[in-house]
Every structure is written in C-alpha cells, then in structure tokens.
C-alpha cells in the first residue's frame, strides 16, 4: 500500500472528536450502568431454600473458589445438608460451571458488572437470593438443557415380563457392567443420601467403587455399616433414593441397584475378605441375641467383629426372621439370604435355632448366662381382624402363609393349601407379597390365578410402593381399594366371599382411626379363602410381671434410649421392629447402634 503524501492526512481522524464516544464515562459507571447481555456471567445468587448444600458447585469449581460453610441453625431435613456455598471472588473465574451443575437449581449469575471495594474481605461472601450487593438484580447466566452438566436420566434395570407370574423367578434383573458404570457415573458424591439412610451407609463411597471397578473395596464400605448387603441390595426401602439430590431435577441415582451390583459381582473370595475385613481378635464377653431378623443379625455381626462371643436364638428352624420367612422369593432369592447369613456366621456368630424365648428358654436364664442380651424379636405375629367369620379355618394370616411359601420354595414342605379363588385384605407391601405369592402358587397348582385385594385406603394413599401396585395389576390382581371389610360370608362352614363397604373416611374429626362407610355402596367379593395382611405385632409374653411394669410400651413397641438400652435394665437392649416399627434397614441400624452400646456397656462393667 502506498504511503500518503502528507504527514497531516491522518488528521482526518479528528472528525471523530464531535461523535458520541463508544465507551462509558467514569461518572456513569454507577449512575447509568450499561445493561449487560442476557446471559452475562456476573455475580452469584443462591436461593437458599432450594440449595441442597450438596457441594457439587464446589467440586466442579476450577479455581477452588467455593467453600461449603456449615450453618448450624439450618434445620436438618432429608435431601439437604445444612451447608451453603461461600464464594471467593479473589479466585473465581466466572466460568459458570457451578451454575450449570447445581443440583438444587438454586445457583444463578446476575447481570451485575461492577464490584469495587478497598476491603479484601468483601471479596469473600455467601450469596443468598440477593447476592454480593444485597440488591435485586436481573438474572444473567442460567443453566439450560445444553449447558447442563448432570446426567438426569436413570439407566433402568431390565424387568421380567408378565410371564414371571407363573414362577418365583426374580423380577428385577441385575445391572450389566456397562449399565452399572453408567449409573454410577451419575452420582456427584455429595453424601446427602448418607445423612438420610437409617444406617448412615457410605453410599457415595461404595458407588465410587463401582465407577473405579474396585468391588472388593465396595464390599468393605458396605459392611462397615450393613451386614445384610445382599438383602438390602434387593428389598431395602431405599429412603436414600428419595433424598438423592439428583432427584431434584431428574431421576435419583439407583443406589439400591448399585449396591446389588456390587454384592452380585464381587468374586466370592474377595467378597469374603471384604465382609470379614473388620473382624478383630476375640475379647472377653458373651452376648445373647434373641431373634435372627435384620436387627439381631446386624447386632450379632458387629459384636462378633468386636471379638465377643455371640449366640443368636431363633424360634424357627432357619435363621433370618423376616428375610428368611417374609420377603417373597421373586424379590429376594434364597441365595441372597444364605450369602448374608453365611458371612455373619463366618464372622463368628453362633446360631441356636428352634428355640423360642419364653417357651424354650427364659429371659432370666439368658441374663444369668450372658453379659448382655439383645432383643430383636421383630413383629412376627399377624394382627387379627375381628370381623364376623374371621374364625373360619380358611382364614389365613400373612406371616404364617409367607413362611410356608418360602419353605415350599426351599423344598422343605409341600405346596401350601391354597384354593383357586382368594382375597387378600390389606394394602401394604406385605399384603402385596401375599397376593403375588398366591398368584404364583395358583398358577402352579391350577394353571390360572384369581386373587382379589381389598384395602381401606384408596389407591392414591395406599401404603404399598407404587411399583407393587403397578406390577400386581400387570399380574392380574383384582383391586377393591377404598373398600372396608365388614364380614366374611360363610355358608355351611364354607367361605363364600368378603362383604365390603365403600370407605368415606378412615379417621374421624379428632384424627382417631374410625372409618365411616357409604351404606349405598357395598358388595360381596367372591372368595374361598381370606388372607389377612393388615399388619404385624410382637408378642411380649416373655417379660415377667415386674418387667412389664417397669418397661414403657407404646403402639406395640417398647421404649428404649437412643442406643437401644432399657432404662431399668442396663444389661438389656432392643432394636428392630419393636423399637422403630417394621423396616429392614432400620433394623440393621438399630442393631448396629446397640452393638456399639453393648460393647461400651460390657467394657464399663
């Protein structure tokens, strides 16, 4: 390009002297600030009530600008930690990755441009809805489905089709390696679920082992707080999953199925090494455990790992309680139960079966022979239903029936005596266990099935899991939900059906259980047998009179202090159903707590 002739020619540029400047003058920076772009990554705001305290923002932060601060005053709630992020603007690079990964959808960036302060401490702050200047600003950068950094959709396990109903084949198939890996990669390892799990299981830690392919380590993590790994990997009520932070914006991580993946896929030698990793040297002390359900097993395992001599008394022929005689085979295969109990036995626990407290052995004897006694007797009796006709011999009870069915599955007895047209009363998970077991037995015996169900609650408020209701329907259960049983219709000693009335309300004005019915809407549901599954209870007859007077009972449970110890009887502990009501993982938790307390008690003696 040719050079201009004159040195002065560039002076043309002076014409711009009279034009509007493109820059903002200093005085206008605060008075008339320029409007930032719609997706400007300005300063952080955090809706504190939506924030889960998961700390994921702090994990992704490239500059370590986010510290999680504990707020002791925040109430404890499931699905949330009492921590909130604080930001160091001396470090932040304003990348917005924290916003894009926020599990609670609480963190955003505003359109603010300027923060000026002579005080360095003011560069470090905990944003709430109003951010660093405590002033409402329009939102700038927001997460959208493109910038999303979480994986919100669950990798589903395969289920058996409806043909499953003609056998006791396990319904839910396990994860393949690829699927387990994919599912484990959805976890942000926040530990919010741990807080909610009754047993405080190290969930993110064991999910991590799936991602790292180190399953033996996974077994160790699981056994740290739960020796019923196989059982809980299949039928745990998974309270953790409802708390999982991913469920705020997507599907919860399949925590239970990942646990199942670990227990199903660890080679046996590594499994055993992991399960027995915590067994220590023998120590002096003998403990009796009454009942070999979840709480008893858990208590026995942990005491045994601490080196105590532990005898478990079981009234049935096989140890396991509800996991051996309750849960149906299609959810909880015998193999899983056996594996859990084998590990507990290998940890040194001694089982004494066919021995019932109060009949074959007394509590006084146990007190004499042992340093401490743990009661994990469970709710092992069915609650009766006092309606006309319920004394008929064709009226069966859930617990007895499920036990018979399991024994039949195990080849220990003949098929239970079931008729081809039955009705189940109850709407909880146990009622579904009974009904769906009946379908399978009927299919086997008659080649067809006819099982009706009646429950006081209508479908929306049924206590059973949604999954049970849907799968039961697929298998052909005939529902009469919202109908209360009035009488069992019996002619010449033979059951003809169940008389039910439409329920208007279950509780009265004062909140007491007192159902009212619609007299216009009643019917007889035909059936030849009636199965009652309206709840379970414990039998406390083994307590002597003095103990009965000293022990506080409420709603069929006993009152103990936090670690399971009875106030009046420091040598006596309890856990499981009779403390917290029926739930396997609560049983495991209370058993573990009691084991620690028994250890402390024996040491202090």
């Amino acid at each position: 390009m040719k050079q201009e002739k004159s040195m002065l020619s560039p002076l043309k540029a002076w014409k711009y002297l009279v034009k509007e400047p493109v820059t903002v003058s200093k005085k206008d920076i605060f008075v008339k600030p320029r409007e930032a772009a719609d997706r400007y990554r300005g300063f952080h705001v955090n809706e504190h009530d939506k924030c889960t305290g998961c700390g994921t923002c702090s994990e992704i932060c490239p500059t370590d600008a986010i510290n999680m601060i504990v707020l002791p005053d925040q109430p404890f709630v499931d699905g949330k930690k009492n921590e909130r992020p604080a930001f160091d603007y001396g470090r932040c690079s304003f990348c917005g990755l924290c916003v894009d990964i926020c599990t609670g959808d609480s963190l955003h960036m505003t359109k603010e441009y300027v923060h000026i302060t002579p005080d360095v401490n003011q560069m470090y702050f905990m944003p709430d809805e109003l951010g660093i200047h405590q002033k409402k600003f329009e939102n700038g950068w927001l997460r959208d489905e493109v910038s999303e950094l979480l994986d919100l959709e669950r990798y589903e396990m395969k289920h058996e089709g409806v043909s499953r109903k003609s056998s006791f084949i396990e319904i839910v198939k396990g994860f393949s390696y690829e699927m387990a890996l994919a599912e484990s990669s959805r976890c942000v390892e926040c530990g919010v679920c741990t807080q909610t799990c009754p047993a405080q299981m190290n969930i993110p830690e064991y999910i991590r082992t799936v991602y790292d392919g180190d399953l033996k380590k996974g077994i160790e993590w699981i056994y740290k707080t739960n020796p019923l790994a196989n059982v809980c990997g299949r039928i745990c009520t998974h309270k953790c999953e409802s708390a999982c932070v991913i469920s705020n914006r997507g599907d919860a991580v399949a925590i239970r199925w990942l646990k199942r993946y670990i227990v199903d896929n660890t080679p046996m030698d590594q499994y055993e090494a992991g399960a027995l990793a915590y067994v220590t040297e023998k120590t002096n002390g003998k403990v009796a455990i009454v009942g070999s359900g979840p709480s008893g097993l858990s208590c026995a395992y942990y005491l045994s790992t601490l080196g105590y001599e532990v005898d478990v008394y079981e009234k049935n022929a096989l140890p396991g309680g509800v996991i051996r005689y309750g849960g149906p085979e299609y959810r909880l295969p015998e193999e899983s139960v056996k594996k859990d109990i084998l590990m507990i036995e290998n940890a040194g626990v001694n089982f004494i079966c066919n021995t019932e407290l109060g009949k074959d052995i007394s509590l006084e004897t146990l007190e004499e022979k042992y340093d401490s006694v743990f009661l994990g007797i469970g709710f092992s009796y069915s609650r009766p239903l006092p309606i006309p006709g319920s004394d008929n011999h064709e009226v069966k009870f859930a617990i007895e029936f499920l036990g018979q069915a399991r024994d039949y599955n195990r080849g220990l007895r003949a098929i239970p005596d079931i008729s081809d047209e039955v009705i189940v009363i109850g709407g909880g998970n146990v009622a579904f266990d009974v009904a769906r077991t009946l379908i399978r037995l009927q299919e086997e015996k008659y080649g067809k099935s006819s099982v009706a169900m009646a429950a006081l609650e209508h479908r929306e408020i049924l206590p059973a899991d949604l999954e049970e209701i849907e799968e039961g329907e697929e298998e052909g259960l005939k529902y009469s939900f919202g109908y209360g049983p009035q009488a069992i219709k019996v002619e010449d000693g033979i059951i003809k059906g169940l008389h039910v009335k439409k329920v208007l309300s279950i509780f009265d004005g004062e909140g007491r259980f007192n159902p009212s019915y619609d007299e216009e809407d009643q019917k007889i549901i035909p059936a030849k047998q009636v199965y009652i599954a309206i709840g379970q209870m414990a039998n406390f007859d083994f307590f002597n009179e003095e103990m009965k007077n000293n022990i506080e009972f409420f709603r069929g449970k006993v009152k103990v202090n936090d670690n399971g110890q009875f106030d009046h009887y420091p040598w006596l502990f309890a856990g499981g159903d009779i403390v917290r009501g029926p739930d396997i993982i609560n049983g495991v938790a209370t058993g573990h707590d009691a084991a620690k307390a028994i250890d402390a008690y024996i040491r202090s003696k």
């Binding site: 050079q3 040195m7 400007y40 990755l97 950094l149 994919a182 484990s184 991602y211």
Partner: protein, 374 residues
C-alpha cells in the same frame, strides 16, 4: 578496556506491564541505541498451566485454559475440545461446528485489531491504539451476548458449545461486520499508509525465509516470507473451513510493514468467512453432543494421546493431550504459536535493531508471552 566495558549498557524491556509487550522481559545489552545482545527472560506469566491441568477435572480445565492466550483465548478451548473429542470418538453437531468457527473468526478479527492497535504504542501513533481497542470492544460486546463473557468466553466445550445462539445474533453480527467493513478504509489511511508507520516499518525488522525455517516460525511470519499459503485452515482443515471460501494472503519479502499488511488482509478474509458462516449455519439442530455418560465430575476421556492444532493469529497453535482414561488429564503440552520467535528468535535476531524497535519487533513477529510462559 575499561572504556569498552562502560560502552555497553544493559537495558530492561519489561517485565512491568505497560501494554502488550511488557509482560515479557528482555534484557538488552545496547551500544548507543543499537541492541548488541538480547536475552529473553520468559516466565513472568508462568502460571503452571500444564501441570495445573493434570490436577483438574477434564471439564474444570475449560475455565483455566483460555488464559494461556489472553487476547485470543478461544483457540485454547477449540484445540482442547478437539483433542477430547478425538480421544472419545465424539462427533460434534453441525450447528455447533459453525458456531465454533464463528467464534474463532470473531476472535481472529479482534486479535488482529488489537495487534494493529498495539503498533500505536511503539510508533507513537496512539490514535490507532484507541480506535482498534474501541473497535475490538464492539466485538467483545458480541462475545458477551453469545458466550456470557467478554474476554474469557469458556464457551467451546468438548462435544460442542455451551448454549445455542441468542435471539437475533446472526443479524447483529452481520450488522457489525458491515460497519467494520465501512471503517476499514479509515484504518488503511490511519495505519497502513501513514508516513510514520512507513518510516518505522518499511525495510525494517526483516524476517528472511531461511530464518523462518531455522526457527520453525508459522503463521503470518512464515507466509509473509516464503510466499507459501501454509495455513492450517487450508492445509489441514478443521471444523468446516473446507466449506468456506477465503484466501490466504502471502508475500515473499517480510519486513514489518508486510506483516502489518497481511494482518489487515486477514481481517478482510475473516469478515468474508464470517459472512459465509452466517449464510451456511442451520437455524435448528443440536449444539452439543454428549461425551460418555454421567455428570461432569465423572467425565473420563478414553486413554490415548492426540495432537490437535488450529491456525491462530500467530500461527500453528496446538495441544498434545495424553489421557490415561481417568477423570483428569495425564499430561497436556501446549505449543504456543510464538514460541520459536519469542525465545530463540529474540535471542538471535533482535540484536542489530534499535532499542525503540524492540517492541515493534515483538508486535509484528507475533510474540505473545502467556503462550510462551504457560
């Protein structure tokens, strides 16, 4: 002998930060106003990026790497994303690829403008500095609209880009390009034809073809000296550079003035490319493809190694990425485009020039200290 010793004076260029050339330090031994010996002193901007990247998650690194080149940060995002995509075997959606090219070319214009403005400092022609910086700011406004940030955009990510185009963006960019085109003749007058620039840059700061080959200079330096249109966008096209028409300006005599000219012509070519991008980019379609499963904390890039490179304003800019299949990179090495001329070049070829030509030397040779220091 004593007298001789006194004759030589040691002068420091940098490392204070008065403009573009001061954050790099050169110790100059001068005799009168002629540089006799030059010792480049890199490291003033060393932030250990390569090491740092080994300790950060694949995704978190996105926020760190743009800082390896302050004025043209997007090339870092692009080569990093290209490398991860190559290792993971991921195909980038069409629209995302166009958006990426748009970003890269906008950045090229902004960076060349900045460099042209930068000539104002060492030559005393400050108007060019003000103009170019203000002009670049208008591009930053567009970047702010598109990416949410003005300088460090952190917008190109493995798999695509972080968000779709905002409403009306193509039109806004189109309007801006027209205004820039209108303004270009004024820049010509102000800069390229200016007697001061001619006096200072014509037949000065020569870069012969042998030196290009000796040092391994790429980019404008190479093209201005050898006449070869060696531009990665042409010779090894990435994104959709094979689907747009543009020319690669070259010359066979490389003095500072030629290189300034080439920069200017590249701005014109980038405008041409940007206009085609606006034309060709589909309105609909995904802008990001998933890389593996899981959340960003768990992202693992399959084991392997890969070298990816793009044509930056200063030449070939590349990353050598090694992954061992874990959540963090095993090793990443950065090829800063100005490494050859910025280190060895200064040492060998700055001597012989006048003191006041040193910043001009660095500007027109395309020395960018952060990419040398990393």
């Amino acid at each position: 002998m004593e007298v001789n010793k006194l004759k030589e004076v040691k002068l420091f260029l940098g490392p204070q930060h008065p403009g573009m050339h001061g954050n790099y330090s050169v110790h100059m031994y001068v005799d009168g106003d002629i540089i006799k010996k030059a010792r480049p002193m890199p490291g003033m901007l060393h932030r250990g990026f390569e090491k740092l990247m080994e300790r950060k998650l694949w995704m978190s690194n996105m926020a760190i790497i743009p800082r390896i080149c302050v004025i043209e940060p997007d090339i870092n995002e692009m080569v990093y994303a290209m490398g991860v995509e190559a290792l993971a075997g991921v195909e980038v959606p069409e629209k995302a690829t166009w958006i990426r090219m748009m970003i890269l070319e906008m950045a090229r214009v902004a960076t060349h403008l900045f460099a042209l403005g930068g000539i104002g400092g060492p030559t005393g022609l400050y108007t060019s500095m003000y103009w170019a910086v203000a002009e670049r700011d208008l591009i930053l406004d567009l970047f702010e609209k598109l990416t949410g940030a003005r300088v460090y955009h952190i917008f190109i990510v493995p798999g695509g880009v972080r968000k779709d185009l905002p409403e009306g963006f193509k039109t806004q960019l189109g309007t801006y390009l027209e205004s820039l085109e209108k303004k270009l003749p004024e820049y010509q007058e102000l800069l390229l034809k200016h007697p001061i620039i001619h006096t200072r840059s014509k037949d000065n700061i020569l870069l012969p073809a042998e030196v290009v080959h000796e040092l391994g200079v790429t980019g404008i330096g190479m093209r201005s000296a050898t006449g070869k249109a060696y531009d990665l966008r042409k010779v090894k096209p990435y994104a959709f550079y094979d689907q747009v028409e543009f020319e690669v300006p070259t010359a066979t005599y490389s003095d500072a003035l030629t290189r300034i000219h080439l920069k200017f012509q590249e701005i014109q070519q980038s405008i041409r490319i940007l206009k085609q991008i606006i034309e060709k980019m589909p309105d609909e379609g995904p802008v990001k493809a998933p890389i593996g499963t899981g959340n960003a904390l768990k992202l693992r890039v399959p084991a392997g190694m890969v070298y990816t490179a793009v044509e930056s304003t200063r030449g070939e800019y590349g990353y050598f990425i090694v992954s061992n299949g874990k959540e963090k990179p095993y090793r990443i090495a950065v090829r800063g485009a100005s490494y050859p001329q910025g280190l060895l070049g200064i040492e060998r070829y700055l001597p012989g020039h006048r003191i006041d030509d040193a910043p001009l030397w660095m500007d027109t040779m395309g020395v960018c200290s952060p990419e040398i220091d990393r």
